[in-house]
């Protein structure tokens, strides 16, 4: 069963969906944290189908929109890393209570994975699984700025506002437009400080890092390797694995719905590998 609802947080609302299995495997549940900007849109259908795959395996799942995203309250430029932290805590509390969970796991694509690792300790997560997490907020923002320049090229055939001009405008107006999303100066500044390889998170695992790569035998991407080494490698149960698969967080010629090849490692992690209470519930 899929239950749509709003979760209250600080007087505002988070849009949420709980996927409830007919029969639960154990007392564990998974919260999925979405990536940011247009990457959220591109992984949307695959996220829905991953939640359904986990639910079919007997694991309850909560998906929700951070404030400033999706159907949740706030304009996009009013979200920041503090509101994201409060949202994750509120979602975790709500999910634990409503589903009577004994263990809570986190999952995230890309920046959603970065947020999952940053807040795993806050919500006492039992484990985390991430797909191509971002190690550096600054590097991510550089790529996002490049997207603005690419948009200018496609519209005008030239770059009219270079990187420095855009950042100066952000200093002035407080906003930076990335693919139509308005990032606030506060978000930009805070996100720039994130560097999981130099400033690891408090939480030490266990966790799964799944790196989607171009071809069979290719090494995991640099971000996945850095995140794994800095945040998870100290726990012997942690794993870094690769899967040849297209980068579904960007526009593709194939509708990115996901498939068992992508979902199986995640489902396996949360049903077999990650710590769980073991007893069947519900």
């Amino acid at each position: 069963m899929e239950a749509f609802d709003f979760i209250p947080v600080e007087g505002e609302n988070l849009f949420s969906i709980i996927y409830r299995p007919a029969r639960r495997l154990n007392g564990a549940g998974v919260i999925m944290i979405h990536p940011v900007c247009e990457e959220k849109l591109w992984v949307g259908r695959a996220s829905t189908n991953l939640a359904r795959a986990l639910c079919d395996a007997g694991v309850p799942v909560l998906r929700f929109d951070l404030r400033g995203y999706g159907d949740s309250d706030r304009a996009h430029h009013d979200m920041n890393l503090s509101t994201a932290a409060a949202d994750i805590r509120a979602a975790a509390e709500h999910f634990r209570t409503s589903e009577n969970l004994t263990d809570l796991h986190l999952f995230g694509f890309r920046f959603g994975g970065t947020l999952a690792l940053r807040h795993a300790a806050d919500v006492a997560a039992a484990s985390v699984a991430v797909i191509n997490p971002l190690a550096s907020g600054g590097a991510y923002l550089k790529k996002a700025l490049r997207s603005n320049l690419t948009t200018q090229m496609s519209i005008f055939g030239e770059v009219r506002e270079d990187r420095e001009t855009l950042l100066a405008k952000m200093e002035d107006s407080g906003l930076l437009n990335i693919d139509g999303y308005h990032l606030s100066r506060e978000f930009y500044t805070d996100c720039s400080q994130i560097d999981l390889s130099k400033k690891p998170v408090d939480w030490r695992g266990p966790g799964l890092v799944l790196s989607l790569v171009r071809s069979e035998g290719a090494a995991a991407d640099g971000d996945s390797r850095r995140v794994f080494e800095a945040c998870l490698a100290s726990d012997p149960a942690s794993r870094l694995t690769t899967l040849p698969y297209s980068p579904i967080w960007s526009e593709q010629k194939i509708f990115a719905t996901g498939c068992p090849q992508l979902f199986d490692p995640i489902v396996d992690w949360f049903t077999n590998s990650a710590p769980s209470p073991g007893s069947e519930v519900g």
């Binding site: 159907d71 304009a75 010629k253 194939i254």
Partner: protein, 322 residues
């Protein structure tokens, strides 16, 4: 707290509504009016292509919260097989799915959403609105149900591209010239020459845009005539639906200046299909915009155009009717 385009973002009266469409459950969000407006008038937002009810850069959420401040009820939902909806699509090839959408694949879901919208809010007249695939679905919905009183469409596609044929052979003369102009702008760009000499340029497209331009310089003139003709590639299902609703339904078509669909609309639909006919719609062009209307100025312009049109056609006012 900041706002963008006068759209308040906090604690609006939004509620989740799910409904059945051909045996699958589709989720949506109803936004209630936050001001007084035209009686029982609603805005139904139709998702673009394979994207979900929120739209690129939350465009549909911004439109919903904006329309609510003009006194309209708003409903936006996921088509089956997309977003958070149940159901599966018949394949995963995006060009094939886009072609299906252009031929009315989501019309049934739109009809069922209209019924759910009416049942949930009591609206009796609806403006159907969407971007690209959402725009053409809006037209099909208007053809299918007389409750649709108006259409606001962005980047409406009027041609279906044949995936097996060369792209350069299927674009209008005007769009071919536009592409050629973009290449000419790069004549003094070293990166462009590097791409050219390292096999990264689209040589076929460059050659064809040049030969088409030269052909017209030394050959035949324009195609605009006094009688209707239907150019190759024009979507005849679209044309039939347009003919059925023209004159009955108010229409606002908005295009980005450089959008290929705009060239198809102006060069082939208006000049050929509507030759000698009236044009009972409003058309507006936004400069400096991409397909999704992402730049700041484009978003601002878009909302201003919609505001003007709503006020002209329905008497809406910022903050509610007097």
């Amino acid at each position: 707290m900041q706002t963008v385009y006068g759209v308040p973002a906090l604690n609006l009266a939004e509620r989740i509504v799910t409904f059945e469409s051909d045996g699958v459950r589709l989720p949506g969000i109803v936004t209630s009016p936050t001001a007084t407006g035209p009686d029982k008038l609603g805005l139904l937002l139709l998702s673009p292509g394979l994207k979900h009810r929120v739209g690129p850069h939350r465009l549909h959420l911004k439109l919903a919260r904006f329309a609510a401040t003009r006194g309209l009820h708003v409903f936006r939902f996921d088509f089956h097989g997309t977003g958070d909806a149940e159901g599966e699509l018949p394949g995963r090839e995006v060009p094939d799915l886009h072609e299906r959408i252009q031929n009315g694949f989501f019309k049934g879901d739109a009809v069922n959403a209209l019924r759910a919208f009416k049942e949930e809010t009591g609206v009796e007249r609806v403006i159907a609105c969407g971007l690209c695939g959402g725009a053409i679905t809006a037209l099909y919905l208007a053809d299918a149900d007389s409750m649709v009183d108006g259409i606001i469409g962005f980047q409406l596609p009027v041609k279906v591209l044949d995936q097996e044929s060369d792209f350069a052979d299927q674009i209008s003369e005007e769009y071919s010239d536009f592409i050629l102009m973009l290449y000419l702008k790069k004549l003094f760009n070293p990166d462009a020459w590097r791409n050219f000499f390292t096999g990264k340029s689209e040589y076929g497209l460059i050659r064809k845009t040049i030969t088409r331009r030269l052909g017209r310089l030394f050959g035949a003139g324009g195609r605009e005539g006094g009688e209707r003709s239907i150019p190759e590639g024009i979507n005849r299902i679209f044309l039939q639906a347009y003919d059925n609703v023209a004159g009955r339904v108010k229409m606002l078509w908005i295009y980005s200046e450089q959008e290929r669909a705009r060239y198809d609309f102006e060069s082939e639909f208006e000049k050929c299909c509507l030759a000698g006919s009236e044009r009972p719609y409003t058309k507006r062009i936004i400069e400096g915009s991409n397909h999704e209307m992402a730049p700041d100025d484009a978003q601002e312009h878009l909302f201003a155009l919609i505001d003007d049109w709503l006020e002209h056609e329905y008497g809406t006012r910022p903050g509610g009717a007097e």
